[in-house]
Symmetry: C2
Subunit: 186 residues, 2 copies
Amino acid sequence: MNEKKQLLLNAALKLFVEKGFHGTSTSEIAKTAGVATGTLFHHFKTKQELINSLYLYTKEQLLTAITMDYQDSEQFKSNLKRLWLNFTHFGIENSDMFQFIIIFHSSPYITSLTKEQAETRFDDVLIFYRKGIENQEIKTVKDEMMVEFFLGTIFSTVNYFNKHPEQLNEKNMNLTFELFWDGISK
Amino acid sequence: MNEKKQLLLNAALKLFVEKGFHGTSTSEIAKTAGVATGTLFHHFKTKQELINSLYLYTKEQLLTAITMDYQDSEQFKSNLKRLWLNFTHFGIENSDMFQFIIIFHSSPYITSLTKEQAETRFDDVLIFYRKGIENQEIKTVKDEMMVEFFLGTIFSTVNYFNKHPEQLNEKNMNLTFELFWDGISK
DNA sequence: ATATATACTGACTAATCAGTCTATATTGTG
DNA sequence: CACAATATAGACTGATTAGTCAGTATATAT
């Protein structure tokens, strides 16, 4: 990736989270990145294309962080916990990216084509857990409800530790996972 | 409340959720409400004041919907469930307002003063449950974490039923509450 | 009925926006 | 080195924006 292109993505990420899509001008993005506006439009044909690229980029970073490391030798709970912890830690350590994904996931600024691209890659991760979910100690709930609940608890956990960073330690992190786990287990 | 002022709030709510704060022009809000732009600026000094008013208005509507009807005669679980169900139903039936509150709660467009105003009124509701939480069958978790978890599960439940309205029935609603309840109970 | 305040209108303005264009610099290739 | 392709720059433009203003209509009070 070209250096200035990367600087532009970083600047756009920060500003979009802070002030929204329309609240951030292309000239401000260029200024923050330390480049000219012409350079921005050289790398991204339109502002629209910039935010689409940014969405794919952040989702890719998230996917890398939660890597598909399902271990058949381990218990289902351990596998699920590792996924949950990876996801949550990503959210805490990359709060701009996490916020961006949350905000712009259900936003009209990202074209549906881009969303589909990102979503498909995402489902690939969850498919590993689907066979783990069947015949396990988990409540019989629709897959989609389970995914929403999973994401909802991560969302609230990240929010909590962002607001109260002094509470961030292994004990409390385990406790919040137990809230999720006891909810879904039979 | 003045009729045209109400029309302006309704139009702004719809458009802000759809296209964001800066993505919606004041002329479009006025046009959607069927009034002149001058009328908008007569009722709200600035666009900023409009969104602040809207935030207080939607929070007020939410508060009314989840009314403080704690019944000491009933079990804690029943009281909590009623609050949870009122909240969730509000989110499903008033999806624009719910979305608006979620989006603009952690957004720089609402001044922190306005947020405080709304938050104070909100805490008044939760205080009724605090004494219920003590010495109950609930896990010992920080109050703030409990609130985040509470809101997180409502958020995911509303999201789920919005995406899959055909799944909306009493049985599934009870099931989703049990996910929350089993998580927090000892 | 008259006076005063409030509600409303839409044309207007200075500022700002996304995107263009022309020119210059840097890089890669043979 | 030569020369083409790519990267960078920033002044510029037509369109759009939040907010103003001068005047008109409607409601309220005495």
